[in-house]
Point group: C2
Chain length 341, copies 2
DNA sequence: ATGCCACTTGCAAACGTTTGAAATTTTTTG
DNA sequence: CAAAAAATTTCAAACGTTTGCAAGTGGCAT
């Protein structure tokens, strides 16, 4: 690796002090016009790049923020990241994206590493395993260091800090209500992993809605998935073998809803004729598959933007009250063919 | 922001020198057992985290590598990132992910910033605009500094450096050949943006395959898209209004293929009965939509892994010959319902 | 008591940059 | 020409950590 040009190298070369070089490059007013021009031209020529590492050390500012997410391979997560980036990139921040794969260990290692790297803020979407095992010491670390921590999408309720989530409960409620109002009476739910707030909230929306309309909550119709399309196949197949079929399926996201659609079709049943299907996320593809999929829209990009705003507001005001900024973005039901009356 | 505990703080508190503290924490053998235990316990208690920034400065090693990609919001890109991460994370590296949105300006700014941050390697998927405008000075900068640069997915041919791409040409060729062999004679192509290597290679595969089988290359049947599902709608609608319809459509990726399927269905035609459709990428969803989509599999995760390996090999051998490591991964045709004979 | 050794700790420099204050040079003024 | 003022440059410290070398302590054999 070529050693990069440093200020000292050039000081030696030009027989002047490092301070002069530094000031010349920063257009400090008390530097002779000629000196400045010479040094700047030379810097240009050798392709000098300020060493940010040393600057970070000196200023105790790294202009880096950490983003910890469980996955990035689906539309929603990447939309969030894009949203964050769209606000913070113009401000000169660099994003340090860490993917936990839903693992507690990785999550906690990443927190450690980010703190060690002195990031100026952390955006975190809590991993499933962390919910499961209930360890939050790594979050305490962040708090202890007073690094702004902002939950995105998935929060840990016992922790007072900024958060941006969407209204999963009402989103699910609206979807199920729509199914009921279009005449469905036996609605199954493909739920997400146990203990994960997002999944539990949607389940709650589903159950409460059934109750409101005096429909029975049948445990047989509530099945586990892990958000992935393939995880819907086995449970829905089981569903299709029940003596009494459901007349609608509400999936915890579009992926499992699409998986469900495949099983239903393979069984020779029609959508929405025999069984209506609704999903959650409103992934772009949902508007184009056949039949087009009814889904609850989740404004991923907006989540990222709001989260980033909480962060920038905090920077402005240094206001510790930021920890009470809990933004709940509304979710919107997009009705399409898969649930047509 | 709470100032983090430093070594000096503790040196003062324990009336000993920073060196002792440092050594105690690193389990240096020549440190008294009691001293070590005391200091370690205290470190634990106050939640000390080594300041990586200062260490980076001292060692001239940041354990950070930059990844510059045009987008992250689709399956393929995120699979690549996951692949890179899976190799480099266990080695202690942090990924600095930058999304250019296909913009030259952002790409070049990000390169600048990464170099300034003294990353130890850069993985780059060239943005479309960069191809268009043909400016590669930012890449020269990387070379000048001898930072290992590895092209992923999209390369700039005029630049001798490591690269991992897939065999787009043969992938497209195989897809079109499959269409021809199942009896299609009038095959349309939804191509990607002009000038982008990935898109051009697939187009070339399409054209060469037609020629090989003595089919005419009809300019009317070659239409532009930008990889996004919605960008297929207008061109395919146009296609559907031709006096003589195509009997197959080969999309530059699954997204546009899915868009095409929608238009075809809306027109009242059947897939594959009237028109066969094939895509590229083998996104997970392709196996679940209706009809399931024939597609050329692109091993995104593998690309990331191979690219990361080029990097680690380079570290081991410090071998400048790494710049001649051009890996071309094979692409595999996955035949599904959408092209059934 | 002296010298030797082992064990433990401290000193100082280094990484690259910025910045207030001090020092030097140049210019202006009386 | 000398003194004051202005312009330019240098010095030194700072950010947090590590590490080779020097220095200190105490024990033990001579």
């Amino acid at each position: 690796m070529n050693k990069p040009v440093t200020i000292k190298d050039r000081a030696k070369k030009f027989k002047c002090s490092p301070s002069t070089v530094s000031r010349a490059l920063n257009n400090h007013p008390s530097i002779n016009e000629d000196t400045r021009r010479n040094l700047q031209e030379y810097a240009q020529k050798v392709g000098y790049q300020r060493n940010q590492v040393s600057l970070s050390l000196l200023n105790k500012k790294t202009a880096t923020i950490g983003v910890i997410v469980p996955t990035i391979n689906n539309y929603h997560e990447s939309a969030i990241i894009e949203g964050i980036e769209s606000v913070l990139q113009p401000l000169g921040y660099t994003l340090n994206i860490c993917v936990t794969n839903e693992q507690y260990l990785l999550e906690s290692e990443y927190v450690e590493k980010l703190l060690s790297n002195r990031v100026e803020g952390i955006f975190l979407s809590v991993s499933q395993e962390t919910y499961d095992c209930g360890h939050y010491e790594h979050l305490e670390q962040i708090k202890k260091r007073s690094i702004p921590l902002i939950f995105i999408d998935r929060e840990y309720e016992g922790f007072a800090t900024g958060s941006v989530i969407i209204d999963d409960y009402h989103g699910a409620f609206k979807a199920v209500e729509h199914l009921i109002k279009t005449g469905r009476k036996r609605i199954a739910h493909l739920k997400g992993p146990n203990g994960m707030a997002v999944a539990e909230e949607r389940l709650r929306g589903y159950i409460e809605c059934l109750k409101k309309y005096d429909l029975p909550v049948d445990e047989q119709l509530i099945l586990n998935t892990n958000f992935k399309v393939e995880s819907a196949i086995e449970p829905v197949t089981r569903l299709m073998n029940l003596p009494e079929l459901p007349d609608a399926i509400f999936g915890v996201n579009d992926q499992v809803a699409i998986g469900a659609m495949k099983v239903i079709r393979d069984k020779g049943l029609s959508i929405p004729g025999d069984i209506a299907v609704a999903g959650f996320d409103n992934a772009p593809i949902s508007a184009y598959i056949h039949p087009t999929l009814t889904s609850v829209a989740r404004p991923g990009r907006q989540i990222g933007i709001e989260a980033a705003k909480i962060f920038t507001d905090y920077l402005q005001s240094s206001d510790a009250a930021f920890s009470s900024r809990h933004i709940i973005l509304p979710s919107e039901l997009i009705v399409r063919e898969s649930t047509a009356g």
